[in-house]
Each structure stands twice: as structure tokens, then as C-alpha cells.
């Protein structure tokens, strides 16, 4: 590991030179990051999932063309220009990974968490998903459940529509959105 002080100096030098060349402003970096810290995150994806749970026609459109369906809710854009929603059912469980880097559906889930970017997750999820889901995420799937691992190696960005938990039949969309976690939309949790 490189020394933290050195890393700080290297980053500051880059920002200083880009600002002093006039290529970026003193405000640019912080304002961009703030967008991802406060505006774009898994709450958006949770809205999409809750809407799909309560609106079968929307769910059908979402599974057929997630990009267009998410735009109906004004959700889309950078690093999610083409979205794919895959549905988890009692028969089929999807889980998303990017083995080559860290591709992730930013407009619905924000920027990826550390575990998703980790070499352990990237190496092992494609080879032994049943083990990783059970041992590292506590998701034990029946042997009859088919697992599909989606490796986001090109330009489509995936998220999963988890199964709606039993006992939530009377809940409204907002309350449902409150229980949809980031992990359930990557496929490493069931609700």
C-alpha cells in the first residue's frame, strides 16, 4: 500500500495543475462528487422496484426495456444509458458482477460500494455464486433455484428486481420502496 500522505499529495497536485491551467474550476471536483453523495443512489432504484411491484404493466415494460421504463420515472443518464432489469423469482435468481472493472447501473444505484469493486467479488461470483451468496452474503438458495450471473462486460447496465416479500400486499409504493435495499437490486440479498 502506498503511503496516504503521498496519495494526498499526488491528488492535490493533479487538481492544482488542472485548476491553474484553467481546465477545471476550483469548485468543479467537489460539486460533481456532491451529486453522487446526495442525489444519486439506491433510493432511485428502490422507487423503480416499488413501482414495478405495484404496477404490473410498468413491470412488464421495465423487464422489456428498462431504459425507457426508468425514464418514465425521470431516472436515467450517465453510466446507465442502457439499462437491463432482470427479475428474481422463486425459480431463477440473478446476480450482477463486473469481472473486468466495476460497471454498475449508476442512475438507479449510484456509484458502486467497496465489496462490489473488490477482487474477491469479481473473481469468485462468476465461478461459485452459490458459495459466495451463502457464505459471504447469507443468501442460501434452494438447489432447484437456477442462478444466472450477469457479467457487465459491455455497455448494458444491470439491476435485479427482487421478489416482493410476503405480507406486504397492503403496503403502498412509498412504504415498499423503503425496504428495497441496494444489495437486493444487485442480487446479493433477498427481502
Amino acid at each position: 500500500m502506498t503511503d496516504e500522505a503521498e496519495l494526498r499529495a499526488r491528488v492535490k497536485a493533479l487538481e492544482a495543475l488542472l485548476v491553474e491551467r484553467g481546465l477545471i474550476g476550483t469548485d468543479t471536483v467537489d460539486r460533481i462528487v456532491e451529486v453522487y453523495e446526495s442525489e444519486i443512489g439506491p433510493l432511485l432504484g428502490a422507487r423503480v422496484v416499488a413501482h414495478a411491484w405495484t404496477n404490473p404493466d410498468f413491470k412488464q415494460r421495465l423487464l422489456a426495456d428498462a431504459t425507457a421504463a426508468c425514464w418514465e420515472l425521470d431516472i436515467g443518464g450517465l453510466q446507465g444509458e442502457k439499462l437491463v432489469a432482470v427479475e428474481n423469482t422463486p425459480e431463477v435468481h440473478n446476480v450482477v458482477v463486473c469481472t473486468l472493472c466495476s460497471c454498475y447501473p449508476w442512475p438507479v444505484l449510484g456509484i458502486p460500494p467497496n465489496w462490489y469493486k473488490s477482487p474477491e467479488y469479481r473473481a469468485r461470483m462468476v465461478a461459485e455464486p452459490r458459495v459466495v451468496l451463502a457464505e459471504d452474503f447469507g443468501v442460501v438458495l434452494g438447489e432447484d433455484v437456477e442462478i444466472r450471473v450477469q457479467d457487465s462486460s459491455a455497455e448494458m447496465r444491470y439491476f435485479t428486481v427482487p421478489q416482493r416479500p410476503a405480507g406486504t400486499e397492503d403496503w403502498d409504493e412509498e412504504r415498499l420502496a423503503g425496504i428495497v435495499t441496494r444489495e437486493s437490486m444487485v442480487g446479493v440479498a433477498v427481502l
Partner: protein, 221 residues
């Protein structure tokens, strides 16, 4: 290219350290690296593919011993100096004594970023030729990739799979990363059986590939 980034199925890794409450950034410099990369890409200093390629060119030792945002930092330094945006000597001197950052805000750049954020920067393109393969086609992932950047994971090379979905045509990363043109191609989601890939397992791995990464499966397969 074959590189340290191509991790699918690589043995030897232990448990995933899963923590649902991890902060997005572990330190302020990581936050800055993310913002700098997004800013540099917004103003077009480099494209996504060359940014990825700069990380992949790290030595295996350096790649594995660096955290995620340190890899991003190396890519920034590599691209900005190789593309002539910053002089390597000037950068080195500044690292040894960063001093204060002198300049002014540029709100119009943030507005430009917001436009990119909203409308995206899609690399989908129209190509005249119809797709070579259709849903259900059996296809083989090529065994040999060209030198330089590619998005065909090593673990599927030479293996036969089935086309599960035909996707839009996108700019080919293999040439775009090297400024050799966009050369858009149709892309596909191809399903491979775990048993075939790994000799064990009952799952399917779906990998997204550009058309030139695929060939007819050939006799006897």
C-alpha cells in the same frame, strides 16, 4: 489485453468482505480522485476505454497492491501525462510541494457535467449490417484477442455459449481505447454453462460481448 484486471474465475481469493454500511469513499483523496476523473472525462480529456486501459496496464504487482481509487489515480496520471495535458516533470515537482490551489470557480463546467449526467454519454451507434447472430445461436468466444484493450474476459475465450439477447451496436473498445476509430459492432448477451467454463457448478454466466469476439462454434461442438 491479458492483464491483472481480468479477474473472473481467478483462484486464490478469500471471502468477500461485505459491509452494507461502508462509506462510498474511505478518505478525502479518494473522493477527489473520483471527482477529478469525472471532471476530466466531462471535458473530454480522455475516453472511458482509454481510462480503463490505463488501469489495466498497471503491473500485476502494482494493481493488486493498490486500492480501487489508487488504481483510478494511476490512470489519471498516466492519461494526463501521456496525452500531453500535463508535463510529467511538472507534475512530479508539484507532488513534492503541492502548495495551495489557486484559481477560480467555473460554474459552467458543472452545468456541462449536469448535462452529461442527465443525458448520458451513450456509445451506441447505428450500423448498416444486420446482426450476424440471433437469440438461440450457438457461438464460440474467440481464443485470441488483439493486443491492447479488449472487453472479452479470459474465462470465456474458446468456450461455446448461446446468444440470450441481441443488444444495440456500440463503439468497439478495442479500437476506441487506442484512438483507432469507433468501429461500432452489434453486441450480445451470451450464456455459458458453469460446467463448461469451470468443470463444476450448475449456474449460467451471461457475458456481454461485441460481435467480433464471437465466431461460429465449428464442427463437433
Amino acid at each position: 489485453m491479458d492483464g491483472p484486471h481480468d479477474l473472473g474465475g481467478v483462484p486464490g481469493f478469500g471471502p468477500v468482505r461485505f459491509s452494507p454500511d461502508d462509506p462510498l469513499f474511505g478518505a478525502d483523496w479518494e473522493r477527489k480522485v473520483f471527482g477529478l476523473t469525472m471532471a476530466a472525462s466531462t471535458i473530454g480529456l480522455f475516453n472511458r476505454d482509454e481510462n480503463r486501459h490505463a488501469r489495466e496496464r498497471m503491473s500485476p504487482e502494482a494493481y493488486r497492491s493498490s486500492g480501487y481509487f489508487e488504481q483510478w489515480l494511476v490512470a489519471l496520471e498516466t492519461n494526463l501525462t501521456e496525452l500531453g495535458v500535463l508535463d510529467a516533470d511538472v507534475l512530479r515537482d508539484r507532488v513534492s510541494d503541492p502548495g495551495e490551489i489557486r484559481g477560480k470557480p467555473r460554474p459552467e463546467l458543472f452545468e456541462l457535467f449536469q448535462d452529461t449526467l442527465e443525458f448520458g454519454a451513450s456509445l451506441d451507434r447505428t450500423v448498416a449490417a444486420p446482426p450476424l447472430f440471433e437469440v438461440g445461436s450457438r457461438v464460440r468466444a474467440v481464443s485470441v484477442v488483439r493486443p491492447g484493450h479488449t472487453r472479452l474476459p479470459a474465462y470465456v475465450r474458446g468456450h461455446v455459449g448461446v446468444v440470450r439477447r441481441v443488444d444495440p451496436a456500440f463503439v468497439l473498445p478495442d479500437t476506441n481505447a487506442h484512438h483507432d476509430g469507433e468501429n461500432p459492432e452489434h453486441t450480445y448477451s451470451v450464456g455459458f454453462s458453469a460446467l463448461d467454463l469451470w468443470g463444476k457448478g450448475d449456474h449460467e454466466v451471461r457475458v456481454d460481448v461485441w460481435e467480433s469476439y464471437l465466431e461460429e462454434p465449428g464442427e463437433g461442438s
